[in-house]
Amino acid sequence: MSMGNPMTPALEIEDMTVVLGERTALCDLDVLVPQGCLCAVVGPNGAGKTTLIRTVVGLVQPISGRIAVLGETFAKTCQRVAYVPQRSGLDWDFPATVQDVALMGTHHSIPWWKSLGGKEKDKALAALDAVGLSPLRDRPISNLSGGQQQRVLLARALAQEPELFLLDEPFQGVDAASEQAIMATLTRIRDAGKTVVVVHHDLHAVAEQFDRVIFLNVRKIADGPVQLVMTPENLKHTFGARVGFDERAQVAR
């Protein structure tokens, strides 16, 4: 698989507007995420963070604007992108094991008439290993904690072997051990030159562990390197007038 030009932005959105029902979810959005960074998307509830991710992967159609994923339309580059949905939207009573879910990430690498072979299983196991779940590979997914569920979904994304990861609220309702495991995995992915975009709630964690941040509240408030755009003004504009950095971070925790 070719890596493409490293100078091409991982994600480039221009003038995008998304309407859900009768509500404008995202308005005139311009976003640029370069390759090889760890980028957080932050904003209050209803700011359109989830909608942003879902629009990029084609689950929601924008009414206007242009989206380039790794320099092309998502339809052309979907092989190089992995989407990690919110775990609360899934039916965890589905009869499958941890390994079954990780294997789903390898489905696209083989034609439909062939059965999954040793190569795919190795890939899935390596992915489970990376998130620390290989001891649980035969466990039914109905027996997992919230953090473990989230790690399974991350393993499935790893098994897709993408260049761009898009994660929707991976730290929501996750225990501390899983949060650390997920964060460590995401950092390793970034260190390997890949791009990670994460919808996040914890502003302290973003300030400490992320390279870039996008402030979102229907419109884009700011985006750029954390040390440049993590300012009291941007926080105020994003979360409302009275919330300072420390207060907000505590609420988010």
Partner: protein, 299 residues
């Protein structure tokens, strides 16, 4: 003296059971257990209109009408779910079920007038009538089952992802645009093919009972599907024999030669009993499993 039950009846029930086990597994996994009920009721007007228009009693001809009505129901369900003011899934299902069945009841009235004597034949599809099962009906079921199994076999991976995470599936390059339609297609055709056995009203019971029973014994989707098909086949084969035994027993002890038991409801009741027993068994074993689970929870 116990008469040998009709072989066509036994084969038909067994095939229908296998078919419902397969289709029910997918309905249950997609959290669409009621879809089968809606589709079987929606097939009713198609069946009645086909009889009214052609006058034919050939199941093949009636099935075409029923399948067309089922497809119309699927399309209407999809259409009601679109747009900004969309209707919630449970309301959609209720609307389509009652709407289509209402049309069917109106049509039944008209067909009764225009084609007197056809009511008995129609009624066998409403509640199922294994005694009236012919080998041609059994062949239709066998063919439907063969096609369904082949399709599921070929698309297995895509189907499991469709059941577990349909949205993520649409973001991956591996998905086939046609898989959901194919699954709905075999569901409609399968339900219609099994109507002579279980009837419009009772189909959904089998679609739910069999996979629910299977689910208790396994945590793997593939194993559960095969188990549900096995249960369906075995219960289907047993039910007509059970009916025969009970009828002859009643005759012997009470001298009542008019005793008749309908096979469809007996099939459904054995299925429901199995599901109830299996769930009771699970609740009983769960208590012993909790201590085991807590030792594994270290990760």
């Amino acid at each position: 003296m116990i008469a040998m039950p009709d072989l066509a009846g036994i084969t038909g029930c067994a095939l229908a059971g296998i078919l419902y086990g397969l289709l029910g597994s997918f309905s249950l996994a997609r959290n669409q257990a009621l879809l089968g009920d809606v589709l079987s009721h929606a097939a009713w007007p198609g069946l009645v209109l086909a009889l009214g228009l052609t006058g034919s009693r050939n199941f093949g001809v009636l099935a075409i009408g029923a399948i067309l009505a089922g497809i119309a129901a699927i399309i209407s369900l999809d259409w009601l779910g679109r747009g900004s003011r969309r209707i919630k899934p449970d309301a959609r299902l209720a609307l389509i079920l009652s709407g289509f069945f209402g049309v069917g009841m109106l049509a039944t009235r008209q067909v009764q007038i225009s084609r007197p004597g056809s009511m008995g034949h129609l009624q066998s599809f409403l509640f199922g009538q294994t005694a009236a099962l012919m080998w041609s009906d059994v062949c239709v079921m066998g063919l439907t089952l063969a096609v369904s199994i082949t399709v599921v076999w070929l698309r297995w991976r895509d189907l499991t992802v469709l059941c577990f995470d349909p949205e993520w599936r649409r973001t991956t390059p591996a998905f086939h645009l046609s898989t959901p339609s194919i699954l709905n297609g075999i569901l409609v055709v399968g339900i219609v093919a099994g109507l002579p056995v279980a009837g419009v009203v009772l189909v959904s019971a089998l679609l739910v009972c069999l996979p629910v029973t299977a689910r208790v014994f396994t945590d793997r989707f593939a194993v559960g599907t095969v188990l549900a098909m096995t249960f369906g086949g075995v219960l289907g084969a047993i039910s007509p024999i059970l009916v025969m035994l009970i009828e002859s027993g009643v005759r012997q002890w009470h001298g009542n030669t008019e005793a008749r038991l309908p096979t469809g409801p007996v099939f459904v009741l054995t299925g429901a009993s199995c599901a109830a027993l299996a769930l009771a068994f699970r609740n009983w074993t769960k208590k012993t499993k909790i201590s085991e689970k807590s030792t594994h929870a270290a990760y």
